[in-house]
């Protein structure tokens, strides 16, 4: 009952101010920390997609999901189960790059298929995209060189396969087309 799990939750909401406050309020009101968060418009500009991760008691999370479904501006909610979704996040890492370290840093970036997006006289900025573990591993490998600053995004997540989290008649149409395309 009280087993804690990591949850990745995607919420489609009406794209209007205040929605994020209502959504995050449901977590903070129960003492849950939102560990990562991303919000952006979907292909339908009137709809935004919030994706967040949190860790907590499954029963409480189920209650939060149900409460989310009661928020007037919330359209749909999904709590992704393991392996149900593909998720990615992005990190920009500013790392010390002394002339003697540059080669190795570039090597690591290469292995991780990360990009060096800014080259300065003493530092590089590396952009890495991937699952949480990959970003974490990258950070650990770069740590010995001296990480000066790091900025990470929240997760973006989509269902695997043909399953969609979309809304509205236009979207339903798109869903149909997507199905046709995939079959």
């Amino acid at each position: 009952m009280s087993k804690k799990h990591r949850h990745t939750i995607s919420i489609l909401v009406q794209n209007e101010f205040g929605v994020l406050a209502r959504v995050s309020g449901l977590f903070s009101g129960r003492g849950f920390n939102i560990e990562s968060l991303s919000v952006a418009e979907t292909i339908d500009p009137t709809v935004s997609r919030i994706t967040l991760t949190t860790t907590g008691d499954d029963a409480v999370l189920e209650q939060i999901n149900k409460q989310l479904n009661k928020v007037v501006s919330v359209i749909k909610v999904v709590d992704f189960r393991d392996a149900e979704a593909v998720d990615r996040e992005l990190a920009l890492i500013k790392v010390k790059a002394n002339p003697e370290a540059r080669g190795e840093i570039m090597n690591i970036a290469d292995i991780f298929r990360a990009k060096i997006v800014d080259v300065g006289p003493t530092a590089y900025i590396i952009e890495v995209t991937g699952g949480e573990e990959k970003v974490y591993a990258m950070v650990e490998l770069l740590r010995p060189f001296g990480i000066l600053e790091i900025a990470r995004t929240g997760k973006a997540a989509l269902f695997r396969g043909s399953r969609l989290l979309t809304v509205g008649p236009a979207e339903a149409d798109r869903e149909k087309r997507a199905k046709e395309h995939l079959s």
């Binding site: 489609l12 309020g25 479904n69 749909k76 809304v167």
Partner: protein, 622 residues
């Protein structure tokens, strides 16, 4: 396009509920404030409660102009309270007693923050209410302007929905949507924050249109179309047929959905006794045979015993709240449980259930009754058992006492009103005694702050109810602690000649808290003893212009005084000095199960069964 200037034409009908037909004022240019008034009129609002102030001035002016331009029978009556909390609870009393949306209109800043308590109270008890707040002009928002408060943020966590109208062209749709949101699905309060310049801005009135809420609208529509499928119906009647001792546990959802008739019909048809929550009082006629009245912390002993004894508990529009199921695992320990509720988040929130259906109580009960047309089972043995419990463990109190007992006062009042009055209460002992000793024949006649337990609720709620029900007897049964919280509203009664009867059960302190201090804090009355207070309530009422304001302190005066009091034509105040040491019984202590119920010195407890430990008349709690 005809652009006649603002004032709504008086020759036009105001209450056109038919939005399919073109609105007679469609195409008219008017200010945001005039649009607000027009939507209120279209929604059938007869009374508006509220307190004016700088940021809401344009709309208060629109009220004045609207009423000046319309014949008396089409006016929207404005009732001004002593404080905004008062108007919020008046709107709530209006809504609770009718099922219609109550409206409170206040200014920005303190007007809004004074309304937080009634809004949260409405949310907690699922009451449809709208709070219209003035806000500083758009350009000043976020500048710490005079009388500015972050209304959206404050109310986001305690209302069903909040609108901040930043686009003046959306004001009309927003107002209409506020009504729709307040009353649809599980009802609740909706706050509309109205920047002053949005109220002033002129636009073309369309007379129709709602904002779109894709997810919410879909969910509400799906709910309205709910059909009980055969499998689910069969599963329910399977549980009922296997049961020998079924019991209905009905809550406020039955009343909110206007499902009282359906519930009564269902109970009669299948012969199932009914207990209700505090919020469910009136869902069944408490004078009827199948009614076992209220369960829970201060429920009837026989109601709680029947919960212990039942083998199938049918929860309808109720939510296993901690005042009902303090000890969840021990609640209805022998019963399979069915749960019918409009809110999916209530199913299995507290207690796992064997059968559930997300549907509003009215529709759900009607469909269940229909599906069970052929169902036949005789529950008369169980009904006899319930009758026996009712007789054996009837309410009782210290009848031999010298001092007036609060229970006696309410028992006497009940003999006079016979369950036909609308009763509002404060919160505390008097509230529980009112729930226990007064009968309620009809739904929407017991108005009480159930979930929030807001002291000060009674007087303003009674005012709202009286205005919504002009011909009816409305009584505020209040306590001396509670009434102080909104004492200013006494004046509102005489200002408007509202004939509410205020019955003050004065036990010189916060009785319920004192009771807990007796039980759990070794009689240390920290902050609750008011025996030395100098307040003279009778004089206070006289100062406010009450023509009937009286205090009694002898038991033999009670009946005659009550009779005069309830039949008095205008507002009346009667203070009864009662025994301050009495406790409310029965009592199931916080976090305790019904087996630990204390029935007190005057109600016979049940002989303990073999497996019954604890739960004697004092339960070892003293």
């Amino acid at each position: 396009m005809s652009k006649s200037k603002s004032a709504p034409a008086s020759h036009l009908g105001v209450a056109t509920a038919d939005t399919a037909a073109k609105h007679p004022l469609a195409g008219t240019t008017m200010s945001g404030s005039d649009m607000i008034m027009q939507v209120l009129a279209d929604e059938g609002v007869e009374v508006l409660f509220g307190y004016s102030g700088g940021a809401i001035l344009p709309t208060y002016d629109a009220v004045f102009r609207y009423n000046a331009a319309h014949p008396a029978d089409q006016e929207i009556r404005l009732i001004v309270p002593a404080s905004e909390q008062g108007s919020g609870f008046m709107a709530a009393g209006y809504a609770r007693s009718t099922g219609k949306v109550g409206v409170s209109m206040v200014t920005s800043g303190p007007g809004a923050t004074n309304s937080v308590t009634p809004v949260r109270d409405c949310q907690a008890d699922s009451i449809p209410m709208i709070l219209l707040c003035g806000q500083v002009p758009r350009a000043a928002i976020g500048t710490d302007a005079f009388q500015e408060a972050p209304v959206f943020n404050i109310f986001a966590s305690c209302a069903k929905h909040v609108f901040l109208v930043t686009d003046e062209t959306k004001i009309e749709e927003t107002m209409r949507s506020a009504f729709e949101l307040a009353r649809s699905g599980r009802p609740g309060p909706v706050v509309v924050d109205l920047p002053k310049d949005v109220q002033i801005a002129e636009g073309t009135f369309k007379g129709t249109g709602l904002l779109e809420f894709r997810g919410y609208d879909e969910r509400v529509e799906a709910m309205a179309d709910q059909k009980l499928d055969e499998k689910r119906a069969a599963a329910f009647f399977e549980l009922l047929s296997k049961s020998a001792r079924p019991l209905i546990y009905a809550g406020g959802g039955v009343i909110n959905s206007d499902g009282a008739q359906e519930l009564r019909h269902f109970a009669e048809r299948f012969g199932v006794p009914v207990v209700t929550t505090l919020m469910g009082i009136g869902a069944v006629d408490t004078t009827q045979d199948l009614s076992l009245r209220m369960l829970g912390m201060h429920g009837m002993a026989y109601a709680n015993y029947s919960v212990e004894d039942c083998d199938f508990l049918i929860a309808i529009g109720s939510r296993f709240d901690d005042r009902v199921a303090g000890q969840v695992n021990e609640f209805a320990p022998n019963a399979r449980i069915a749960h019918l509720d409009i809110d999916a988040s209530e199913i299995s929130k507290v207690k796992a259930v064997d059968w559930s259906w997300v549907c509003d109580a009215k529709r759900g009960l009607a469909q269940l009754t229909k599906s069970g047309a052929k169902f036949k089972k005789d529950f008369s043995k169980w009904q006899d058992h319930a009758r026996e419990l009712k007789k054996k463990h009837a309410l009782n109190y210290n009848r031999g006492a010298k001092m007036i007992q609060a229970e006696f006062v309410l028992e006497q009042l009940n003999e006079i009103t016979k369950g036909e009055a609308i009763v509002a209460t404060g919160v505390g002992q008097h509230q529980m005694w009112a729930a226990q000793y007064l009968d309620f024949v009809n739904p929407r006649t017991f108005l009480t702050s159930g979930s929030m337990g807001t002291m000060g609720f009674g007087l303003p709620a009674a005012i709202g109810a009286q205005l919504a029900n002009p011909g009816k007897l409305v009584i505020d049964v209040d306590g001396d602690g509670s009434i102080r919280m909104n004492l200013g509203e006494l004046e509102t009664l005489t200002n408007y000649g509202i004939p509410v009867k205020v019955l003050l059960i004065n036990n010189l302190g916060d009785g319920m808290v004192r009771q807990w201090q007796d039980l759990f804090y070794e009689n240390r009355y920290s902050g609750t003893d008011k025996t030395l207070h100098k307040k003279d309530f009778v004089k206070a009422c006289e100062a406010d212009g009450f023509e009937f304001s009286r205090r009694i302190s002898k038991a033999d005066e009670v009946r005659a005084a009550l009779e005069e009091f309830v039949t008095f034509e205008g507002p009346a105040f009667l203070e009864v000095m009662v025994d301050l040491h009495e406790h409310v019984y029965p009592m199931v202590g916080p976090g305790a199960g019904y087996k630990q119920m204390i029935t007190g010195p005057y109600i016979p407890a049940r002989d303990l069964g073999k497996d019954d430990k604890g739960g004697g008349s004092t339960g070892g709690m003293f």
